[in-house]
């Protein structure tokens, strides 16, 4: 208990010190929301183990540390550091952030369709954008969970994307969040607000990259709205330093016949927690949640997803896969709530886990709450090991045991990668994945 209040006190202190220089400090609505969120965070405190939502994930390592907000400066990050993480094709609209702040010198604007806004959140906050004011905190409730509250109080940057009605963005927006080698014991609070108007479409790629070995904390929130006929795809690739803590929330809200797809790839961080939520609030809306989490060593990766079927005849499909090696621990909690009026709901959730070591562990938990009677809701969760017969089969086709093992692991993961529609993004993820898997050098070419 004392530890919790100590950490709350610490974060309150951080906020009090930075309040005047956080983006939008001079904009009344921004300041007011930050304050309200900070008060809410102070009430809630960090989640405790007794909190059912945090049953398997201990925040002790975060409570123990006195995170500071990053100082201004270039933190030694140059274009050469960015190069390995960018896409050449198609020309993405790239916004780069280093240790919590937007870096125009590392970013690259693409030609955007008329009327599209894709600007750093810090600028939108400073301008006091009315559209932003309307949407910020509407989908990710600033008073909902401790980390969203903390993020709302301390958000320093991210993207504000606004796509007007009927506009389709060809090039993806690439958000590259980099933690420098100076990020140790720093707290980065990124907030992304993705607003598609009716019939608009956009693709956003969020990558989180750690350049050093620091024990930093990223607390990121992305909120998105896809009203009638809108189509929004978000790829999140998390490659934080293996000493880092990564806490992220994605909250989307959907209208009639809209499409949202969220692909959540978690490779890095000592502790990673993703809360992915989607509300289907009109007929014909569809959400796809795909996830892939890799853990090795002592990594801990926790994915909590929640799909709310609020209206009739909406559909959801969810496919999360985990690969755990070493002493890694995985958590998957997939909640699907079907409200009484949501007749004709069609929902499928699958979670498959591959354990590569005796000491790896995973806790899969599907959670269905169905209050309507005319629905089709299926779910499945499996934990397995590599198939001996398949290993033997590949050996009889000339591969060594190590090659066969890697190929099977890759195949397991690739089922999620294959669902990525943007070719360069898929290729990049494939390459990252191969890089991350044991004994896969041979497959990279």
């Amino acid at each position: 208990m004392t530890e919790i209040s100590e950490s709350v006190g610490h974060f309150k202190g951080l906020y009090a010190d930075a309040e005047d220089r956080l983006p939008g400090a001079r904009v009344a609505w921004v300041a007011k929301r930050r304050q309200a969120a900070m008060s809410r965070f102070a009430e809630l405190g960090l989640p405790a183990p007794r909190d059912e939502e945090w049953k398997y994930t201990s925040l002790k390592p975060i409570e123990k540390r006195a995170f500071a907000l990053p100082e201004a400066g270039d933190h030694g990050v140059t274009a050469a550091d960015v190069a390995p993480f960018v896409f050449e094709e198609p020309a993405a609209h790239r916004l780069v952030f280093v240790d919590g702040a937007y870096r125009p010198d590392l970013s690259q604007a693409a030609e955007l369709p008329a009327g599209v806004t894709a600007m750093p959140l810090s600028e939108a906050l400073a301008e006091g954008s009315e559209t932003l004011s309307h949407h910020l905190g509407r989908y990710a409730d600033p008073e909902g969970t401790p980390f969203v509250a903390l993020n709302t109080a301390l958000m320093s940057d991210g993207v504000f994307l606004h796509v007007p009605a009927g506009v389709s963005m060809a090039a993806p927006v690439h958000l590259l969040f980099m933690a420098s080698t100076e990020a140790d014991e720093r707290l980065m609070s990124y907030r992304n607000v993705l607003v598609a108007e009716e019939g608009a479409s956009a693709t956003v790629l969020e990558s989180y990259v750690g350049l050093g070995e620091g024990a930093y904390l990223t607390n990121a929130v992305t909120e998105a709205v896809a009203p009638a006929g809108a189509d929004l795809t978000v790829y999140k690739l998390q490659e934080e330093a293996e000493t880092a803590y990564h806490i992220a929330a994605f909250e989307a809200y959907q209208g009639g016949a809209s499409q949202v797809a969220h692909h959540n790839i978690s490779l890095g961080a000592r502790l990673a927690r993703n809360d992915v939520g989607d509300a289907l609030d009109a007929e014909g809306a569809h959400v796809t949640l795909n996830g892939l989490y890799l853990g090795d060593g002592r990594q801990h990766v926790d994915n909590h997803t929640r799909i709310d079927h609020l209206q009739a005849n909406a559909t959801s499909s969810e496919y999360y896969k985990g690969i755990l090696d070493g002493r890694a621990r995985g958590v998957f909690n997939g909640k699907v709530v079907v409200q009484p009026q949501a007749q004709g709901t069609d929902s499928d959730q699958q979670n498959r886990n591959l354990l590569l070591s005796r000491n790896a562990e995973v806790d899969p938990k599907p959670e269905l709450e169905i209050f309507a009677d005319d629905v089709s809701c299926t779910h499945g969760a499996t934990i397995g090991q590599l198939d001996d017969n398949a290993l033997f089969f590949l050996q009889t086709r000339g591969m060594s045991f190590a090659e066969a093992r890697s190929l099977l692991i890759f195949g397991f993961a690739n089922e999620i990668i294959e669902r990525i529609a943007v070719e360069p993004v898929r290729a990049r993820l494939e390459e990252r994945l191969l890089h991350r898997l044991p004994h896969t050098e041979a497959m990279e070419d």
Binding site: F392, T396, R397, S400, F401, F412, N414
Partner: protein, 258 residues
């Protein structure tokens, strides 16, 4: 090519192969028949190097080398191929990727230059003509959602691209309709030459209506109970395996199959 001498093998504590002697010469096709539980699949597994068997007495030499001392991938690279009774599905790994990896693994082992992507694809497509397989299946995950016939064609395609010295077909004919059976038979007949040998393991004689073997062996209770030429299956069709067990000749249909 292959010389099996007094081979004994057990699974856990139970002996399955109880002294097999078999000589397969270059370019010969041998059929091994026998009732369920006679040890046919164990023999295939032992030859290909599957885990879980304890080899007792006996030896197997393959082209003069000690086969049993080799890892499964080494046996494959040395030219031994096993077509699986139940082809394995590998979600997330495309068929073309598997074939490329297999071809290059073998080339690398043999000290040949690995083929680049373009050459590999044309090499594989050339071999596909042999099995009449739909191009689309190359880009699907290995055997995932394939019909029984497509899976067997895929095994035959793997055999064709690996160009083995000795191919063992472990009940490749089981569960196949007559058209698929002809495809398997056709692939074997077209790959059959003066140097390449085959061991066809089958419960039924119908595969042998399409592939004429040089020798036929009946395996029973872990031993070769009878050997003969291509006329042996016809004989078995009349008598069944009952003569082996000493029971009545009621089992004729067991050999004829469906």
């Amino acid at each position: 090519m292959l010389s099996i001498k007094n081979l004994h093998a057990s699974v856990e504590d139970s002996e399955i192969l109880k002294g097999i002697d078999l000589e397969v010469g270059d370019g010969e096709v041998h059929a091994i028949m026998g009732p369920n539980g006679s040890g046919k699949s164990t023999l295939a597994g032992v030859l290909a190097g599957r885990d879980g068997y304890t080899i007792g007495e006996g030896s197997v030499t393959f082209d003069g080398q000690d086969l049993l001392a080799m890892e499964p991938q080494q046996r494959s690279c040395e030219g031994l191929f096993l077509a699986f009774q139940y082809p394995v599905e590998i979600p997330g790994v495309s068929n073309i990727y598997l074939l490329k990896s297999a071809v290059n693994a073998v080339r690398k082992y043999r000290g040949e230059e690995e083929l680049d992507a373009m050459d590999l694809v044309s090499f594989i497509k050339e071999k596909m003509k042999l099995t009449n397989m739909d191009d689309k299946l190359l880009y699907r995950s290995v055997n995932e959602g394939f019909s029984g016939g497509e899976k067997k064609r895929n095994e035959m395609l793997q055999m064709a691209v690996l160009e083995p010295k000795l191919a063992i077909l472990d009940e490749t004919d089981s569960g196949l309709d007559i058209d698929a059976l002809k495809i398997v038979a056709d692939a074997v007949n077209r790959l059959r030459d003066a140097n390449r040998s085959f061991i066809l393991i089958t419960h039924y004689q119908r595969l042998l209506d399409y592939i004429v073997p040089d020798q036929v062996h009946v395996l029973y209770n872990g031993q070769i109970a009878k050997s003969g030429d291509a006329s042996l299956p016809q004989e078995l069709e009349k008598t069944g395996y009952a003569w082996l067990t000493g029971a009545d000749q009621a089992g004729a249909e067991a050999v004829q199959g469906q």
